[in-house]
Amino acid sequence: MNHSLTFTHDEKQASVTVPTNTLLADAARLAGIDIGQPCGGQGRCGRCAVQVTEGQVRRRSTLRLSEADVAQGYALACQTVVEGDAAIYVPPQEKIERRLTTDRVVAEVTVPEDYEYPFSQTVRRVHLTLTPPSMDDQTDDWARLQTAFRLQRRFETVTCSLPLLRTIGSTLRAGDWNVTAIVEISRPSDHQTIRLIDLRPGHEDEYSPLWGAAIDIGTTTVTLWLVDLVTGQVKAQVAEYNGQIARGEDVISRIIYASKNGGADELRQRVLDTINELLERACKRVKLPQGKVTPDQIVKATIAGNTTMMHLFLGIPAASIRLSPFIPAVNHPPALTGREVGLNVNPEAAVDCLPGVASYVGADITAGVLSSGLDSAENVTLFLDVGTNGETVLGNRDWLVTCACSAGPAFEGAGVVNGMRATTGAIEEVWINSDTLEPTYRVIGGGKPKGICGSGLIALLSEAFLTGVIDKGGNVKLDAPSPRVREGAHGGEYVVAWGKETESGEDIVLTRVDIDNLLRAKAAIYAGFTVLAENVGIPLESVDKVLVGGSFGKYINVEKAVQIGLLPDMEWSRFEFLGNTSVKGAYLALLDWRKRERISEIAKRMTYIELSADNSFYEAFTSALFLPHTDLNKFPSVAEALEKSNS
């Protein structure tokens, strides 16, 4: 029996008559509309979703669509057959991408609802009008300023640095005894003790921005958010590889380097250079109606980072971190200033280094727990930081346990031949056609690809595995029938993009060495959380939500991450992707002193479990060093997908 179909695409219509059981994708092709099928029409990628606006169809698989989407008529063109006359809308590709049940996109940053600058913020702008001195009033400038603070603002105690003290007299006179003071309230609870950060002549606009920075010093990536403390809004987000990478990829090799003569100074300078460069870059991004932002206007910086990064940044010897019994010099650094730490912010700026828990669980995780909301979760929740140190936290509002494992920088695009950070030009998604082994990829920004970022690497590894480009051990099958599979300088490799398609003109490839690095990274993270869960006797199935953090992109395809054995095999709806949770935690602490205190509480509450205490981690690690895992029973959905792709 024949049926008439009408397709609407790109504001044009096309009709075609086809027999019962014709695939929508085939029918569309007959109608002259090419619906892209990156995975080769296997129903794996979900990229061929169309909307059936009228008529009868039969869906063989709706796995990648939500119930709501199916209710609205969405169907996968490669998995849906015609059963009657129908009208079909073919949406533009970018509309489909974010509908899929497998994709998790990080939410845009919004100012917390409870942020109220006059109450939440420890840094304030204070207008003072002083009585000018006279022959009858012989009070000195500093005492005059203190009196004004006390009488006009009830700040009983004011402290000030010597360099700032030297400028007070001239500033007071330049403003004709009207000044704007930038102060830090030292103890928010009593509201009486302040530290003077800056004194500016005249009265500044009350609502003009007051600049702060939230900084995450990652082992691999440094991320910085420039924030207007008055509105609480993030005005610029920038990131760059940590300049210390040139001296070692992981914390251990950095500590060793730091113990060498001059090594500590060099590493400190390298990370300072990275941050100072980011400060410049972030300031340039901000467009003001008049004037411009410069780093020296930044009056407060909140810093998160793992314990080693914090030590190296502060120039504190880190050697004891890697030697038994693994005791850091400082878990809770004291309040510091821009001048002391060497940042090119205002020299008196408040620099707040967030507290850590132990040598291998630092402020990046305490900040991450805060921003992920894990510490107030009702049900048992797993928080994974897919970063170089693979920190993991399991718990809820009553208890928190944590561990760390060295995963390496692969998911941040480092240590991978064509890896890169998740910025313009990075391939962030890949599909491989099972029949032709030809890839389809998506590039951040839409231009020519420069490399592959973390989410792209996850997708690529999974696709290469499912389509048989590589075996379960990660070996490239050189006998695979495609010119893209070839012997390279480092063993077998797969060409994702030919030179003629790329920015540099060179092929973009995934090599055997890259695959090994990715396998080790995913195995370490998987082993970390499985051993942690085992240690506290919580079966993974009883984990309510899995919160994934990491600075490898704005997005993760959870199905792909499960298929490579990075994430546990559970319903996709239980995963959430939070992006860089550490910088987000630093941002929350930068804004609100109550959140900052909450991080200190979290640090006290967390129980650290040392994975190297017994053999179970190594055992779990080697068994996870396989695709998806040596024990396929732990990944039933992947076993099913493999069976499908083999048949």
Partner: protein, 314 residues
């Protein structure tokens, strides 16, 4: 009061694997060797008999090895320069089967010639090892596999980074493979999965968990083998392959076996010590579940054979 010995009942068992093919089976071997089939931990006769006793292979080389101990050179003599002669002497020494180790100097033609001459000289089943360099292994073993089609040779050694070519040629020509992983239960299992994924029948895989000599990590190898056996008995299909280990190779590289001069007097007679070293290493591994031990010295072969006889009869 009679004491009842508690008996374990296991859901899994070790697969039975037969090496070599007689003329009736498409090969030219006078006999075949069957190993595996165990249903309990090794030699617990009160639980179940040992269906196939462990086999002893003697390792010979396609060219006279220059780096072997003078004690081995002394006992094998001129036969070491001729694989066929060496094979005959090894059969006389009591080998159940032979390992022919090819060398990097061999061309594919040399390798085929050596294999043919050994097959012609004895009726024992044969294991053939490449020289241990991926490309060379593949080149030589493909030639050998084709030339000896149907003989049910064991081709080795497959490792996780180089197994596809060897497995493919073994499948195409009716041979078996030896799958080696570095002393780790998971890594052994992973390689077995990779090889099975290629479609290799499961009765044509021997696993080599790697071992160390007495005093050089043997106990680690021992416990890995024990755990592989336990996993197999518990029903893990990817660990249920018979195990082949190389105590001869391991023992003869130790200082205790190799060196006869400049050592403490308390170490005693060199020859006696060297043979003890090989024998004890081999026997410990047999006790932990080895199905094939590859040895080098005829005296060790005799002693290990006697000991196995006692273990199986007991």
């Amino acid at each position: 009061m009679p004491i009842e010995i508690p008996k374990d009942k296991w859901p899994g068992s070790i697969r039975t694997v037969t090496i070599g093919a007689t003329s009736a089976e498409g090969g030219t071997r006078a006999k075949t060797v069957t190993v595996g089939g165990g249903t309990t931990m090794p030699y617990l006769h009160f639980e179940a008999p040992t269906p196939n006793k462990p086999a002893i292979a003697i390792e010979i080389k396609s060219r006279k090895p220059e780096d072997w101990s003078p004690l081995l050179a002394e006992v094998w003599g001129a036969a070491m320069a001729d694989p066929a002669q060496w094979a005959k002497k090894a059969e006389e020494a009591g080998a159940d089967l032979l390992v022919l180790a090819l060398t990097v100097e061999d061309s594919p033609e040399d390798a085929v010639k050596a294999v043919k001459s050994v097959l012609g000289a004895t009726g024992l089943p044969l294991i053939v090892w490449g020289p241990g360099q991926a490309e060379k292994d593949n080149e030589l073993l493909v030639a050998v596999a084709e030339a000896a089609k149907g003989e049910r040779l064991v081709l080795g050694i497959c490792e996780d980074k180089n197994y596809r070519t060897i497995v493919a040629t073994a499948m195409a020509n009716g041979h078996l493979v030896q799958a080696r992983a570095p002393m780790d239960v998971n890594l052994s299992k992973q390689l077995n999965i990779l090889i099975s994924d290629m479609g290799m029948p499961k009765d044509r895989i021997l696993m080599d968990p790697t071992t160390g000599a007495l005093g050089y990590g043997m106990e680690y190898g021992y416990s890995v083998m024990e755990r592989l056996r336990l996993a197999a008995l518990q029903g893990d299909a990817m660990t249920q392959f018979p195990m082949i280990v190389t105590p001869g190779f391991e023992a003869w590289k130790t200082k205790e076996a190799k060196v006869g001069e400049g050592i403490p007097e308390a170490w005693g007679d060199w020859k006696a010590r060297a043979i003890h070293w090989e024998t004890l290493t081999a026997l410990a591994l047999v006790e932990s579940g080895a199905d094939i031990v590859v040895l080098r010295h005829p005296e060790s072969v005799k002693r290990v054979k006697d000991a196995i006889g006692e273990l199986v009869v007991a």
